[in-house]
């Protein structure tokens, strides 16, 4: 009887997430029931949103303690009682932090067909790529000559947003933590500049003033908090803020919003708009087309940060919340 190793969310964190919030067990692999599919986990996506799900209801219901930790992932169908899937198929779904998942067929999606490695299904052509694409192109839009600021610039979404901005002719300024990462964002990803929010010598507002003396047209916000505050004060008239996430705020207690809400929005006529990637599903084919094309041409570099082994999932997520990843972080649970 094959066994299923699982990592459970043992306790909902009130403050910072630690290993102690998780527990590991092994249970027998379940047989899929009517209409269900048994999937072997190959790759798990790690996302700042995983932490937000622990805070209460977001765009999905809150996680509860004692359950397998939720996570999107890619897997191979082992056994299917849903006519749409057959053993051997590669599929996507909320597999969770476990080696095997049984899901209803209607919660499983066929993997978008693509050339390139399997992992692109979680990066370039997964939630990261679609979020970057829709959150820039279809929320604020970006025009040649505009100044685009992107926080978490070295992360899964930010690294793609900035590169798409460059492809569209914008001047692109990233924000990341630490001089090495900032250097990498400029040298490797091709951003025009990258500001170090951890720099204790030079406040972010001064760095931003130097990099964008006339201000920002579009801010793609992955972080909220102090970086959002600094960006708001630096927006040009009629500036647009795409609200993608608030990673600075997930791993702790709720904090009030930035100063200048709503005053700055009025005086500068700013627009702030939140979105979820699923709001733009009707435009996913555009994203798949453009992202694949840019990756093939070499204009878009796909950076992946793959950690081996299910047991490293908690450490991987904590590290991601601390900003240690470069590009799209995943956990490889089993090889293809």
């Amino acid at each position: 009887m094959p066994m299923n190793r699982r990592i459970l969310l043992n306790e909902i964190p009130q403050g910072k997430l630690t290993e102690a919030h998780f527990a590991t067990d092994e249970v027998t692999v379940l047989k899929p029931g009517d209409g269900e599919v048994l999937i072997q986990t190959l790759l798990l996506s790690q996302d700042a949103a995983n932490r937000a799900w622990m805070q209460g209801a977001t765009y999905r219901s809150a996680l509860s303690s004692g359950q397998v930790m939720s996570s999107g992932g890619l897997g191979r169908v082992v056994e299917s009682n849903d006519a749409r899937f057959a053993a051997g198929d590669i599929v996507a779904g909320d597999l969770g932090w476990q080696e095997y998942a049984v899901l209803p067929g209607n919660e499983v999606a066929a993997q978008h067909p693509h050339q390139g490695p399997l992992s692109h299904g979680l990066s370039l052509l997964g939630v990261a790529g679609l979020t970057a694409y829709h959150g820039l192109i279809n929320v604020p839009g970006i025009h040649a000559g505009e100044v685009l600021l992107v926080s978490a610039a070295g992360g899964s979404v930010g690294s793609l947003v900035g590169q798409i901005g460059k492809i569209k002719g914008a001047t692109v300024i990233g924000v990341a933590g630490g001089p090495e990462k900032c250097q990498w964002v400029v040298d490797t990803l091709g951003f025009d500049a990258c500001l170090d929010y951890k720099d204790t010598q030079s406040p972010l507002r001064d760095q931003l003033k130097a990099a964008a003396p006339e201000g920002i047209d579009v801010y793609f916000d992955n972080t909220g908090g102090e970086i959002l505050q600094t960006a708001l004060f630096a927006m040009k008239l009629n500036g647009r803020v795409s609200c993608c996430g608030a990673v600075s705020m997930y791993d702790g207690k709720p904090l009030p919003g930035p100063y200048g809400i709503p005053g700055l929005l009025v005086t500068k006529r700013l627009t702030m708009k939140g979105f979820l990637v699923s709001d733009y599903r009707h435009l996913d084919q555009d994203a798949f087309h453009d992202l694949s094309m840019w990756a093939r041409s070499g204009d878009l570099m796909v950076v992946e940060d793959i950690i081996e082994g299910l047991d490293n999932a908690p450490r991987g997520l904590m590290g991601l919340l601390a900003g240690e990843n470069r590009g799209k972080r995943m956990i490889r649970v089993a090889s293809e």
Copy 2:
């Protein structure tokens, strides 16, 4: 030699505005120079924005101490050295808190021709009416069957926004201070409900939950602060917030923004957009047309709150910031 009585902003307030921040003097009426126009002040507009101008640069430069207090108004041309204006014309401009103003001709506007009293030029067809119209129709838009929440519902802009919402088929909920004013908003202005933010027995969020159990589609924000906070938590998915002003925040120290920025914007896919009435000048003819039509048909009631005498301008503005006005507050400096 005619004298010009003036009220000066003697000191920029650091906290609450008081009479002590103003001083009165009398000086000789100036002769208009080349291209200038001498105007006798008839009516002065009182707006929460007057207080915001004291806080620093907004959409106009900050006020400085020792100058005549700024204020939009309507006046009669006494003498003109600009060919576009002649003695006797009724014009609009930043006349300031004084009996006579000398302005460059290009800072003076001919009054939009209309039937009805002169005061409509500062209410229905002035900044108040245009702000209400554009800030509802051209910023978030409003559709029949939607739920519209309006703060400062008894004020110059809010009283019109709610009535326009009703004309467009929305369910309209106001927020105002005190049971009498709330009753008046419902009985006289025709809102479906009006919530009392000063009610110490029933928190605003509970009142809002009862009035709009399924949430809010559009929030027209005149106040910022706690009311904005409560509204954000009550927005429906894809809700829109029109940021018009932040009267709760002008008369004191800056405060941080509401909780849930940007988190709530993401999970609920909200849009917040700030605007100034002047952004929509190209659509002013629509506003003049519709507002006049609705006023003529009786669908739109124009409420004016006119205080007699220039010397009452400081008290009038302080009262407006405390929410004592009903409809559009003005100071009558001289009768037609």
